[in-house]
Assembly symmetry: none
Homo-oligomer: 539 residues x 2
């Protein structure tokens, strides 16, 4: 059995059928280029027969001169009609692709219920459509829809469909577990049987994750002889998604010894997963296998000491193989080794033996006991460590804030904040509105500082999380706020804790700004000088 | 091979090692009760040897009289020491559990690198610790850490570990794929071999999801003879998580014909998954298999017509079997029946055919679109339905509130709220302080009403949750607040949504009081009469 496999990426077609995913033609082109850099063999771009954005994509993708084969998707011809008259098939040809994917019914139940036609007509639809595209010089990938259900209910018909497709010249016969309900054992035996019956044909597998087995089923099929795997980056797709190529590829190549992508390109996997999630505007789950930010994150103190001694103790592969990296989380289970190694990451040298280090560690533990969590707040931790190390020069001094929320029946709620700071010796007092208390405080705080530190113009808040700790105390409980801030090139996270959600948010906001100002110098401005003289309220 | 399986839930122990999950003892008790209702066989509660929250949990869980066996987790005794002197082991016994899970090393590499001891001493640590707990009458589950890596590197030693544990009296021998790096095929052959070598022992499997194969590996092991599966609800756990019981259980029972949970209880799966995600304050992914809101959501028009003709066309199981439901993202059909049946539960009769019902349903859908979720907020939903049915008599009218938070450097933060209502024709204006904005509002609101409605003295807020929706909008994002209120005999939940966390909290607070006042009559008081005359600010 060949160990050389083809990756067929359908992120841009099946992936877009997932809830919450919608890609423009530009998005698709960006993703296509990225997929090509990764080294996938086929990129299914969309459905020219039913989508104008896709027609534009197929036209413009030709300029990219991708190495991968771009394919267009469509159904077999309509029943009781002729292939050369079929609009969808013709649009596939007009799109200019080298290869096409045709989906056809292989479950008799569907032929009767969904298509409402005869079993013979369905076979003809498949054969005619494939033959038509082959005559036009296209490579044809035949997707046998609901293949496993079809085989389980009427094996002879399902096999007849495959043979029909093969006879008509299909280059690939792909078995689709469209409902996502198959088990790995049966996938293996069915693919084994198909392989024995279909001889020389190249077989492919297309799975769905409705039983959390899309990846396992894909592996199963490959082990039974399939050599093409259809899936999506990050498992995007309808319902529970398609087979996640970010798990399929490393499993096949790094674990099972298949040849999938060139060795240097598999290291692009994490970067590819993140890039595509950004374009798709979907949060990449931290805990996603191989490529998630927590895939190699270690929390418990015992684990961490072992890891620092030898990564193999708790890591199944070297993260760098897929372009990821190890993270040591400083958490309530934190031990000394976590903190010291985190400081090292930041370029701060703490000697584990000396008293200053012990104090810092105790301080962190006390804060954690009060509800602080530095797991998602690296910048706050860094501020803490640098302060302890004497590295921080405070750029402003907090004097006071007032925050007011007013609601009158029938009118929108109003939030206002008033912030007083001392910057370089002068008192600065600002007022701002916002769409909520934290937004108002953020606006007032920035107003107070941006004339002195123009760098602050480039940063903005990009994420805000609130967590009530120990909810048993209900409204008297402590609240932990996590803030993510971004500028053009980086992002950083800060934390604040208090019984008062406003105070907790303020703390996290101030930390995010202090962090942004590390290394910044105070900018003298005429405006600044005036304020120094008049102590005017900034507009 | 037996087809009867045991589910060992470690949500409260291994699950809490996942990033972003932190449970109080109260949270754990709520989850334990829910797990017990689902019907799992073992509930691993935590680590009494290293966590005070867990000691409290083990003490209080006894009052719940769960059907499931509650187990405590710990390591084998320290090297070169004695079991009866080991603090962790003694804490397990003191915790009062019926069963204990002991984790021991089964990979020689770990014995040398992590434990830094000899292979023989490790065997003694395992045997001694198990024997000690067995003598004290506990059921003992032995977790062989890194078993599959251990077996692959030094098969003889890994088997020796298992035999040692069995000889010492372990009731269960659990093979753990601690690094999460194993493939289903090798899991199957290794478990097959272990079973042939260990004869009568009961075997268990504990997998991790680092290759997106935790579920597949668990199934593989069961098919090779394991009869206990360790996992977590929603797959919570370190790095990429543990085996997701919400996928493992239906796969085993509904697909592979094993006996796992009583038939009527497997229908609780979706409800359990959602409840636990709420308590853990972690978003349940829409696309999670079986239990996610999109697991049976159909988007495309073609799919939808086929589905409406026969669900089997695109659904691998009937969603109701796991307590989920079909969603048609195009039509309203699914929504309507759900609301009508919920109303019936509350004793309100809505005729699905008439216009009033359609309006109510549309209103609920609009609210849900804005971010309201009535899943954890039955009282708000009931208020909505009763209002629509004309059943509610408003006891007070909201006029306005002001909420002020002030912080001066070096002084504690101050929160004050001022609430103006109209009660029975008179204006009531109160002022109150609080330890945070929501607490201050709650105090002011109650002050305004308690003299008229003394019943309010008996109620208090018992739980408060905040969730930021669509975090991509950072501080402009909507916030959803859920409040639980209690009195002597019952508890109820209400919800509020707004971009402004204060307004959202206010909304949920007001709803909780309106709900408490259903059926209450306004109490005339002398104080009330005076206020009618003078409109004084209440103290």
């Amino acid at each position: 059995m060949s160990k050389v496999l083809s990756i067929f990426d359908t992120t841009l077609r099946d992936g877009t059928q997932g809830e919450g995913i919608s890609l423009s033609a530009d998005d698709k082109l960006k993703i296509a280029r990225k997929l090509d850099q990764l080294g996938v063999h086929y990129i299914e771009g969309g459905i020219p027969g039913s989508n104008n954005k896709d027609i534009e994509f197929f036209r413009r993708v030709q300029e990219l001169r991708l190495q991968a084969k771009v394919t267009a998707f469509g159904s077999t011809r309509r029943k009781n009609s002729e292939a050369h008259l079929d609009a969808n098939l013709n649009r596939i040809i007009e799109s200019g692709v080298q290869a096409a994917t045709l989906v056809g019914k292989s479950w008799d139940f569907h032929v009767h219920t969904a298509l409402q036609t005869t079993l013979e007509e369905n076979l003809a639809m498949i054969a005619d459509s494939i033959a038509f595209l082959k005559q036009r010089g296209l490579e044809v990938i035949f997707d046998a829809e609901h293949f496993f259900d079809g085989y389980k209910h009427n094996k002879d018909y399902a096999l007849a469909v495959m043979k029909s497709a093969a006879a008509a010249g299909a280059d690939w016969l792909v078995m689709c577990d469209t409902n996502g309900g198959s088990m790995p054992g049966e996938v293996h035996s069915i693919v084994t049987d198909v392989r024995s019956q279909l001889g020389a044909a190249q077989l492919g597998i297309h799975t769905h994750n409705d039983c959390e087995l899309a990846v396992a089923n894909a592996l199963s099929a490959v082990q039974a002889g399939a050599t093409q795997i259809q899936g999506t980056i990050n498992g995007y797709g309808e319902r529970c998604g398609n087979a996640n190529l970010c798990s399929v590829i490393p499993n096949l190549q790094l674990k099972l010894g298949y040849e999938v992508l060139p060795a240097e390109q598999i290291g692009q996997l994490t970067n590819t997963a993140r890039y595509i999630s950004e374009i798709a505007n979907v949060h990449l789950p931290n805990n996603q296998p191989y490529v998630g930010t927590s895939a190699f994150a270690h929390k418990g103190g015992i684990h961490v000491s072992a890891i620092l001694r030898d990564s193999k103790t708790y890591e199944h592969i070297q993260p760098e193989l897929v372009g990821n990296k190890q993270r040591i989380l400083v958490s309530e289970l934190a031990g000394q080794s976590n903190v010291v190694s985190k400081a090292k990451e930041m370029g701060i040298d703490f000697d584990p033996a000396n008293d200053q280090t012990k104090e810092v560690i105790q301080h962190i533990k006390d804060l954690e006991h009060q509800g602080y969590s530095f797991e998602g707040a690296d910048a706050s931790l860094e501020m803490l460590l640098r302060s302890a190390n004497g590295d921080i020069e405070e750029k402003f001094v907090f004097e006071s804030f007032k925050m007011l929320v007013e609601k009158t029946a029938g009118k929108p709620v109003v939030s206002e904040a008033f912030v007083k700071l001392n910057v370089g010796g002068s008192s600065v007092y600002t007022a701002a509105e916002g769409n909520g208390p934290v937004n108002a405080l953020d606006n007032a705080l920035r107003k107070a500082l941006v004339t002195y530190f123009p760098r602050l113009k480039e940063m903005h808040l990009s994420d805000y999380k609130v967590r009530v700790l120990d909810e048993k105390d209900a409204t008297a409980a402590k609240v932990r706020v996590l803030i993510e801030s971004k500028d053009l090139s980086s992002s950083w996270n800060t934390v604040g804790v208090s019984e008062n959600v406003i105070e907790a948010s303020w703390e996290a906001l101030v930390d995010s700004i202090r962090y942004a100002l590390i290394g910044e110098t105070f900018k003298e401005t005429d405006l600044g000088a005036e304020e120094q003289n008049h102590g005017l309220v900034n507009h």
